[in-house]
């Protein structure tokens, strides 16, 4: 057990060199690395906290936008619903109006058709009545319808001779209008009868296809007429009554 002082000196030098070497190649790199890593971790944690805060802010903003979007969506849905209802009501009103208009048109057309039918029925009834009357008169009394109409007109004029004369004034002309031209014999008979009632009066004959079957006497501002309109109206009433009865019976039959 002895101390070699040269070795001691060498070992002190060796130890100092080792301190420097380990400081250079071990402690400093390791500690600096740890410090750098700690700094990096701290920075990352701060960055993460910042990003988390930013994410929270973005999330809050997103939630707010989402809520606003939902509100806007509800408002838009409500608006669209109201518009749709308004449009539906408008379309329904338009359709109803159009339907009513068409119904009115149809009713007018129906009424027009009814009027035309009534007119045709009236004309046909008049023709039939005239024809039947003419045939009956011819067969039973050997008379013409025009002669009997002239006779009837004269009979109707006779009680009101004075009134007609006053109404005719100084004109001195009488015009007899018929739908069809009167036979000459009837014209002569009428001329003679009127001349007898109103002396000095000239008698003229005219035709009017629009006029109802019958005779019309015009003297100045006065007018006396005999037509078969009343008969034809009675015939129309009779036919309408029969048709109505037939319709009632049909309805009752269907009801049973």
């Amino acid at each position: 057990m002895s101390i070699d002082w040269i070795t001691v000196a060498a070992q002190i030098a060796n130890f100092l060199v080792l301190v420097w070497l380990l400081k250079r190649f071990l402690y400093r790199p390791i500690l600096d690395g740890i410090d750098a890593r700690e700094a990096e971790i701290t920075a990352r944690m701060q960055e993460a906290a910042q990003q988390k805060a930013e994410a929270a802010a973005v999330e809050a903003e997103y939630q707010q936008k989402l809520r606003a979007l939902h509100v806007a969506q509800s408002e838009m849905q409500e608006k669209v619903r109201k518009e749709a209802e308004a449009q539906r009501d408008a379309l329904l009103a338009e359709a109803q109006q159009r339907m009513e208009h068409e119904h009115e048109n149809w009713q007018a057309h129906l009424d027009d058709e009814a009027r035309k039918y009534a007119a045709r029925l009236h004309a046909a009834g008049a023709d039939a009545l005239l024809s039947l009357t003419r045939k009956a008169l011819s067969d039973l009394a050997d008379e013409t319808l025009e002669a009997r109409m002239a006779h009837q007109l004269v009979r109707k004029i006779r009680p009101m001779t004075e009134e007609l004369r006053r109404a005719a004034g100084q004109a001195g002309a009488a015009t007899i209008t018929s739908r069809d031209p009167l036979p000459p014999k009837v014209q002569e008979t009428l001329t003679a009868d009127l001349t007898a009632l109103f002396p000095g009066t000239s008698v003229g004959f005219e035709t009017d296809t629009e006029q109802a079957p019958g005779l019309v006497l015009r003297m100045g501002g006065a007018q006396v007429a005999w037509s078969i309109d009343s008969y034809i109206d009675g015939l129309d009433a009779l036919i309408s009554d029969q048709l109505a009865r037939g319709a009632d019976l049909k309805v009752q039959g269907n009801g049973h």
Partner: protein, 231 residues
């Protein structure tokens, strides 16, 4: 029987004889340095740490933790000194198991050199921390009467450090050599295991005592001083 490796000449460099103590010290130094260089040469922040780097970090941080507990604060300079003491002694004692290796710590010259280093380091750290006057005042505490005792205490610390380490390591080596002669197949293995244990304990004790001595000579440290200490 050769009790000290100082007397074993391994080689001559430019005519200078190199004994086993110095040679194996160089081996330990080379081993520590090369291993450190290999592990830390590509140490960059962008490279993830591997298991070797993690091992070194655990060792260095363990040493740093022990120093911070004793010195009441971080000090890189103290880490360089005490850590190197620990690693050198521990590695020397660990290599005891290698056949033919003679641990430098079994030489009284080595332990004396380490003790002298501690003896020199204590006033240096003290002066660096407290200033010359502040450090010298510690020898007069609690009163000037204690000055000779403080000086004796300072030197006896170094001597006790040196003798303790040398005695333990050398005795282990000597006992292993004796038992090798008596029972060559069993006892040496047990003694080697015991030698490893005592060697690690001695390394720890040596480094801890050195740290205690140095830190007792320095003022209590704070985190702010750590930045000033860092070179």
């Amino acid at each position: 029987m050769n009790l000290s490796p100082d007397q074993t000449i391994i080689l001559h460099l430019w005519g200078v004889p190199i004994n086993a103590t110095i040679f194996y010290t160089w081996v330990v130094m080379a081993l520590l340095t090369v291993v450190s260089m290999l592990i830390t040469h590509n140490l960059r922040p962008d490279v993830p740490p591997n298991r070797w780097r993690t091992t070194l970090e655990v060792i260095v941080q363990g040493i740093q933790g022990q120093i911070e507990e004793i010195a009441q604060g971080p000090s890189r300079r103290l880490l360089y000194f005490s850590g190197t003491l620990f690693l050198f002694v521990a590695m020397s004692n660990l290599l005891l198991v290698v056949p033919g290796f003679e641990p430098p710590t079994s030489s009284l010259s080595t332990t004396t050199a380490l003790a002298i280093s501690v003896l020199i380091a204590v006033p240096l750290f003290g002066v660096s921390s407290r200033g010359v006057v502040g450090y010298l005042k510690t020898y007069l505490q609690p009163s000037f009467v204690m000055l000779p005792f403080n000086i004796i205490s300072e030197f006896s610390r170094g001597i006790s450090l040196a003798i303790r380490l040398y005695g333990n390591i050398m005795s282990g080596a000597v006992i292993a050599a004796i038992l090798l002669g008596i029972a060559p197949f069993f006892f040496p293995v047990v003694m080697d295991v015991l030698g490893l244990l005592t060697g690690m304990i001695q390394a720890y004790i040596f480094a801890i005592l050195a740290t205690v001595y140095i830190s007792s000579a320095t003022a209590p440290r704070t985190r702010n001083q750590h930045d000033k200490d860092t070179p």
